[in-house]
């Protein structure tokens, strides 16, 4: 059975905080719950941004996710 949204968010956030790379693609979170569809994972990750726990990092052409504080912007380097 797929995880509930809150469980999924907790797993995604944990991965974002502990993964070796500070910035992750949405696909990197798919393994957090193989039972959840790509849309659910994307919605959960986007929700975490709304909650202020993760941020988007965008190159302009691609977007990645990072736990707050792990991705550095140019102005904070």
């Amino acid at each position: 059975m797929a995880l509930s949204k809150d469980e999924l968010k907790a797993k995604i956030l944990n991965k974002a905080m502990t993964a070796a790379k500070p910035q992750l693609y949405v696909k990197d979170f798919y393994e957090c719950d193989p039972e959840s569809g790509p849309r659910d994972i994307k919605n959960a990750a986007n929700d975490l941004v709304k909650d202020g726990k993760m941020v988007f990092w965008s190159s302009g052409s691609t977007t990645m996710y990072a736990a707050v504080g792990r991705a550095k912007d140019e102005e904070h380097r």
Binding site: W57, G60, D73
Partner: protein
Amino acid sequence: MPKHDTPMMDELEKGPWPSFVTDLKRQAVKNDQCWDILGQMELSFRDKMTHWKHGGIVGVFGYGGGIVGRYSDVPEQFPGVAHFHTVRLNQPSSKFYNTEMLRKVCDLWERRGSGMTNMHGSTGDLVLLGTRTDQLEPLFYELTHDLNWDLGGSGSNLRTPACCLGKARCEFACIDTQAVCHGLTMKYQDEIHRPAFPYKFKFKFSGCPNDCVAAIARSDFSLIGTWRDNIRINQAEVKKYVAGEYKNNAGGISESFGKFNIKKDVINLCPTRCMWMEGEELKIDDAECTRCMHCINAMPRALRPGLVKGASVMCGAKAPILDGAQMGTMIVPFVKVDPDTEFEEVVFYIEKIWDWWMEVGRNRERVGETMQRVGLPTFLKVMEIEPIPQHVKRPRENPYVFWAEEEVEGGWQRNVQEFRAKHKM
């Protein structure tokens, strides 16, 4: 007064063409930042490398697109462009603006940014070039609350949909491009404003195969207006063209092309050779017509698209990133584009593609590259589309036929003994 010596930039003001350097100098009188743009570009020309750094976590709250971070890597020398973020605004369908809105957005941008714009970016957005991080939220607030205007897409989002002029101005339009562009922009607000995909995804809508918005070359999903029935022929007008009553290409080409000649200018240029004259009558074998639009463009008073109108769906165009550039592949020859059903048939294919690509697409892989990786037969199966001859680019070189289990009587489990009873080893 210029802040920097820019001899190489100044060169770009010479010659007969309008120059963005002149524009920048004019704007620099109002906004000092523009001197630093010129100064940094001069340095880049000298060093033969860019001094911009792209990307970052900048954006506005709740949105994961529409703003692209940009920073100078020599901010001490050019403090005016230390931050120089780009803001993409969702352009109105077909880029119809009224002057009041343009004035308002320019006034806002002079207060909150460099005042420099790009009308328009290649995706179609109205692009505002250069502002500081602390200006982003106030700019967004005014933009949405006072101007009722929204950001476009960037990053791994659905990019701002774009369409040709369509029925607003063009007699060739087979679909209402503005209705479908606006309808799907509203339907997919979440996908435009927040990343959803392995990479960018673009929609473009052209009203006919002239494809003025270059959908087939630039969009992951292009909808191009077409017709199912026959080209409408007005034989009386054909006669007038033949008699030379109308100038060749409505006088739009040089006299040296000579008088309109139906054989040379139309019939012989039909790519499928499906036109001919019978006496004074023009005939078309419509079953062979590939809807290239050439004859209709050449004789618009005599020929018009048919009456049963809809669109073809192409998929997978892209500029060269990983592999080379790629045109869209025709996937569905004809769909109805009907606002009354909220574009049901179009939405069906869009969502089928997304569901599959979100699952199977690799990071930073455009859907056209995913299609190429799995092959068209697999892609068509996913889309639940029966292959048709028009899907075949050229006859295959591989003599082997691969059957799927469900295509073979008895599948892989049939009784071999029974088979061997009839067919000795």
